[in-house]
Symmetry: C2
Subunit: 361 residues, 2 copies
C-alpha cells in the first residue's frame, strides 16, 4: 500500500488540540483508502523556542525535508511577544519555512458557509447565499524577501529600507497557479496591483496579461489594491480567484477571511513546485482559549484535506472531507466560536466536532 510521510508541526496555543482532531480524521482516511500516513512530530514556533532554542529548530527542518508534506498547526502567544521580530514564533518559523521549501504559491480560500452567514459582520443582503473567494498569494518574493533591507545610519540619521522586487519567472509561475485554479472554479481571475505607482506592478500586469492568453476560457480583470480593499467590502460576490503579490495578498486575504466571519473555519495551502506543500489554518493560535478543549478544529481538518488533494492527489478523499464538514455544519454542530444560539444548533467541544466529522465521513 502507498505510504506518505507527513511532518506534523502542531505549534502553540490551540495548535496541538486542533491538530489531534485532524490526525484522527487522517486515521479515518487511512482506513477508508488503504494508504499509510507516516507521521513525524516536530517542534515549531513557541514550542521550538522553549524546547530547542528557536522558532524553527534544525531538527524540524530536517524532519520536514524527509517528508512529503508539512501539516502545520498555529504558532505564537504572549509569552514570546517581547522577543525581537526575527525570533518570534510566527515570523521566525513561517518565513524560513517558505524560503527553504520554496513555498511560492499560497492558496487562501475565503468561504462563507451558507449555514454561517450570521457570523459575518456584513449585511445579510450583501452575503446571502454565501460567497467563495480563492486568494492566490505569491509567497516567496516581493518586499518580504528582497534585498537591500535594513536600517542604515545612526540616531536621527537612520533610514529604513525595504525592497520590492519581482522577476518575470516569479510572476509567471504564480499566474499559472491562479489560472489553473480558476479553470476548476468560476473561470474568473482578478489580478491585484498598484500599477499606477509601482514598477513591480507594471511588470506584474504585463506578465499576467500575457499568461492569460494561454487560458482563453478564463476572464481576466485588473484592480488596484486600494480599490480591491473597497470592493471586497462592497460586494465580495464579484470575486472568484484573486491573484496578488506577497504583501497585497497578506492584507487582502486577511480582509477577505474576516469578511466571512469564520476565521476558525478557513484552511490554507502553501505549495512548492512539484507536490510538496505546507498546510495550515488561516486563524491564529488563540492563546486565550488554549487548553480548554473548545477550539474549532475545522480549519485544521480542512487544511489536512488540502494536503490530501495537492500533495497526494487524493481528490476524492479531500472532497469527502469538505462534504463531511458541510454535513456536520448543516446538522447544526457548532463549536463555541460559531455558536449563534439559534434553534437547531448543538454546542460541541473540539473532540466532539472531530467525532462528528469522522462519523460523517
Amino acid at each position: 500500500a502507498q505510504t506518505y510521510k507527513v511532518a506534523v508541526l502542531p505549534g502553540d496555543g490551540i495548535g496541538p488540540e486542533v491538530m489531534a482532531e485532524a490526525l484522527r480524521v487522517l486515521d479515518a482516511v487511512e482506513k477508508k483508502h488503504g494508504v499509510t500516513f507516516q507521521r513525524t512530530h516536530a517542534n515549531v514556533g513557541g514550542a521550538g523556542i522553549d524546547n530547542e532554542g528557536k522558532a524553527l529548530p534544525d531538527t524540524t527542518v530536517n524532519i520536514c525535508k524527509a517528508s512529503d508534506a508539512i501539516l502545520f498547526g498555529s504558532v505564537g502567544g504572549p509569552k514570546w511577544e517581547t522577543l525581537p521580530p526575527d525570533e518570534q514564533p510566527e515570523r521566525g518559523a513561517l518565513l524560513p519555512l517558505r524560503k527553504i521549501f520554496g513555498l511560492y504559491a499560497n492558496l487562501r480560500p475565503a468561504i462563507i458557509f451558507p449555514s454561517l452567514t450570521g457570523a459575518s459582520s456584513l449585511k445579510e443582503e450583501v452575503i446571502s447565499g454565501g460567497f467563495n473567494i480563492l486568494v492566490i498569494r505569491e509567497l516567496t518574493g516581493g518586499i518580504y524577501f528582497s534585498q537591500p533591507k535594513g536600517i542604515d545610519g545612526v540616531g536621527a540619521a537612520r533610514v529604513g529600507v525595504d525592497t520590492m522586487r519581482y522577476s518575470v519567472p516569479e510572476i509567471e509561475r504564480i499566474t499559472h497557479v491562479a489560472f489553473q485554479a480558476a479553470m476548476k472554479r468560476d473561470k474568473k481571475v482578478c489580478s491585484i496591483d498598484k500599477a499606477n505607482v509601482l514598477s513591480t506592478s507594471v511588470l506584474w500586469r504585463e506578465i499576467v496579461t500575457t499568461i492569460a492568453k494561454e487560458y482563453p476560457e478564463v476572464e481576466l480583470s485588473h484592480m488596484y489594491v486600494d480599490n480591491a480593499a473597497m470592493q471586497l467590502v462592497k460586494w465580495p460576490k464579484q470575486f472568484d480567484v484573486i491573484l496578488c503579490e506577497n504583501m497585497f495578498g497578506d492584507i487582502l486575504s486577511d480582509e477577505a477571511a474576516m469578511l466571512t466571519g469564520s476565521l476558525g473555519m478557513l484552511p490554507s495551502a502553501s505549495l512548492a513546485e512539484g507536490t510538496f506543500g505546507m498546510y495550515e489554518p488561516s486563524g491564529g493560535s488563540a492563546p486565550d482559549i488554549a487548553g480548554q478543549g473548545i477550539a474549532n478544529p475545522i480549519a485544521q481538518i480542512l487544511s489536512m484535506g488540502m494536503m490530501l488533494k495537492f500533495s497526494f492527489g487524493m481528490i476524492e478523499a479531500a472532497d469527502a472531507i469538505d462534504k463531511a464538514v458541510a454535513t456536520v455544519l448543516d446538522k447544526g454542530y457548532r463549536t463555541r466560536d460559531i455558536f449563534q444560539n439559534i434553534a437547531g444548533e448543538k454546542l460541541v467541544n473540539t473532540k466532539e466536532m472531530g467525532d462528528a466529522i469522522i462519523a460523517a465521513l
Copy 2:
C-alpha cells in the same frame, strides 16, 4: 479685510459640478465672516491633458504656487485610461502635486453619519451609533517615491524594483500630526506597520513609540497592517486615529471609507508644513453620472471646510459647515447616491443640496 488666495482645480467628471456648489458655500462664508477668497481656476487631470497637454500643466503649478491653498475636485475617466500610468489624470496630477508642495500629511476621515448607517454594507449591530475614524497617511515618502524604482533588463530577464524608504524626520513629523489630531479627538492612536517583516516598519514603530511619550494623555497601540484590514471589518468603532505609512494608508483609508458606505460624503486634506494644503473629496470623478447635475456635493463642501480650518485657521466657519451638513442630512435631504427610499427623505439634485446647506448656514 483678510484676503486668501485659493487655487480652484475642478478637474473631470462630476468635479466641476460639485466644485460649483462648494464655491457657492464659500461665497456664503465670505459674506458671513467678512473675508475674501480670491479664486483662480486652473486645469488638472483629464482637463489638463485635453486643454494643455498634460495632467498637471505648468500654468496650474504656478497658480497653485501663488495661492494659499488648493481646492481640488476629482480627476480621471475612461477617456484617458489607455495613457501610460505616469500620464494618466490621477497619478499624473496627484503624485507631482504632493511632491512639489510637500503635502506629507494626508487626513482622511471615515465617518458614518448616524442618519446614513443604512448605506454601509456592515450590519446594523456593528455600526449602530456610527463611527468616526481619522486615517492619517504619510503622503510623500515610502514606496511611492523612493529610488531605485523601475524595470531593468530585457524580455524574460526583466526585473521590476520598487523601494520603500523612511527616514527618522519623515516618521517624526507625521507622527506629530497624528498625536495632535488625537488630542482634539478621543486621544487614541493606532499605528499601523508590518514590523514583523519590514525594516522600515521596525524604524517606524520605534520612532512612533518615542514621539508618543510627548503626548502622555494619548493612548498608543500598534497593529500589523493585515490585522488592521481585519479589525476594520470586525469592529470599526475600536479606532480613533489610525496612523499609516503611505501605501498602508492608501489601502486602509479606502477600506475604512467604503465601510461607511458614504464615499460621496468624505472629504480629505493633504497638508504641507506651515498652512498650505490641498483639499479634495475622497471619492472619484464618477464619469457615469457626470453632467447630469445629480452628484453629491457634500464631500467637496466638507473638503472646503477642511481648507477653512487647516489653511486659514477659521475653526468656527469650518464647524458651521460641518453642522450645516449634519442639519441638512437630519432634515432628510438626499442626493441619489444616499437616497434609501424611506420615510422623511427628500430626493434633491446637486444644486438643491448646495442650496439647502447654504440655507442651513
